[in-house]
Symmetry: C2
Subunit: 293 residues, 2 copies
Amino acid sequence: MSIMFERVAFIGIGLIGSSLARVIRRDGLARTIVASARSTETLDKVMNLGLADRVYADPADAVRDADLVVIATPLSAYAEIGARIGPALAPGAIVTDVGSVKGAVIRDLQAALPKSVHFIPGHPVAGTEHSGPQAGFAELFDGRWCILTPLPGTDPAALEKLSALWRSAGSKVVTMDPEHHDKVLAITSHLPHLIAYTIVGTAPDLEDTLKSEVINFSASGFRDFTRIAASDPVMWRDVFLGNRDAVLEMLQRFTEDLTALQRAIRWGEGDKLEELFTRTRAIRRSIIEAKQA
Amino acid sequence: MSIMFERVAFIGIGLIGSSLARVIRRDGLARTIVASARSTETLDKVMNLGLADRVYADPADAVRDADLVVIATPLSAYAEIGARIGPALAPGAIVTDVGSVKGAVIRDLQAALPKSVHFIPGHPVAGTEHSGPQAGFAELFDGRWCILTPLPGTDPAALEKLSALWRSAGSKVVTMDPEHHDKVLAITSHLPHLIAYTIVGTAPDLEDTLKSEVINFSASGFRDFTRIAASDPVMWRDVFLGNRDAVLEMLQRFTEDLTALQRAIRWGEGDKLEELFTRTRAIRRSIIEAKQA
């Protein structure tokens, strides 16, 4: 690949940011990579890992002269970052992010950014339960979706350039309305995480004799939830607060369905249980056919 | 290994039964393996796969002269099987099962079995989302727990013999009180399955535009639930009905915790969310340390 960007600035560089930085390094897509992060510890790690050429405590210094700015912090930092970097951004720069919520993001950032930059929110649908710049790897996005949620009037050339970057990372790029994105992710990602956090959180409240056995016998189903429930706590706090309405709506549907199932168990209605379990098995098959399994 | 049993009879031979039959074949642990199943289709498959030397439509014919009988059907068939095989069992035979619930099993079977046999309920904590005799494999139990729930007065020699069989399969054998088993599994296995079934069942009720995208973007969390929710429908129907009290109790705890979380999201209580998500991450680490991940 040839150079796509002169200077790429990462604001926040954990699992996702550092993985994209690794892709850019691997394929030589930028002349210079710089990064800003809140903690000195993270900045040291980034330099030691060779992920950036220069690091800055102040995000405004990082974005100066950058033609691509990638915001990859927890969502709750966006408003402050917007205020800091807004005046320092170069005209014509592409500003994007990697957050799991898009509606709130756009509200928080758009007002703070000058009209002379191309603001294109994004969400690579990929991750692991690990966090921090040392947890990233260039193959993280390979074969995974990257959802871009461009606003009305977005420059097609800038959108294509950002799409090309994600395709270099191996992603399948799709564009979507921000509100629709937030509904889709509420059911496919946010609700599953919320439920996994809940069930794993239920375990430590058990009597001691049960508690140690929950660990021992976790392979029977519980274990799959613990992997999900080990995801980054601050990132996920922000996701639930940022996508509150869609999450609460999906949670309401889930709770109604769970209550119906609870009633079927209490009253011994085996046919209702079997009918549901047969339907869910068919959904698994759709996912396998769609090659997402 | 040398021969441990003259004749092993499998009553029901799906994923679990056929995997154990494969272990017995592989290690030459029985002179003869026979099987009984409800459908001719299953019996044909078992013969074609070479899993048994002879198959029988009537479980009474299968258990005659067997020194080990393994009941590996859904739990709802146990009472009828007990009534059928009881009079045909050879004195001194070991009768065991592989069901995921133990309290109800013991109630259903014990009364029907003659006092001259050694009845030792068991539960290999292993499985996949596939079912049927073609889905089994000899390595299924390797490194996994097998819980035996012997009754008071069980013959130690019979218990040791059955334990040795499971150790040949690679299992770590542990004994437990049946009621305690049912509580442990309610939280580690039954509740996770119930929740996975519910969330996956919520998806098809969404509007059409969302539905196809749930499949496409399943990799963001939902997918892990679909694997669990693809497990055998009849087996799981019976588990929930058979372990009703413990499942309803754990479900109640889960619902309370979920409601608290829902409230925290609605009122923007980020500190409560972060605190829980930090705790659950630590539980994941315990599981990794216990080498169950």
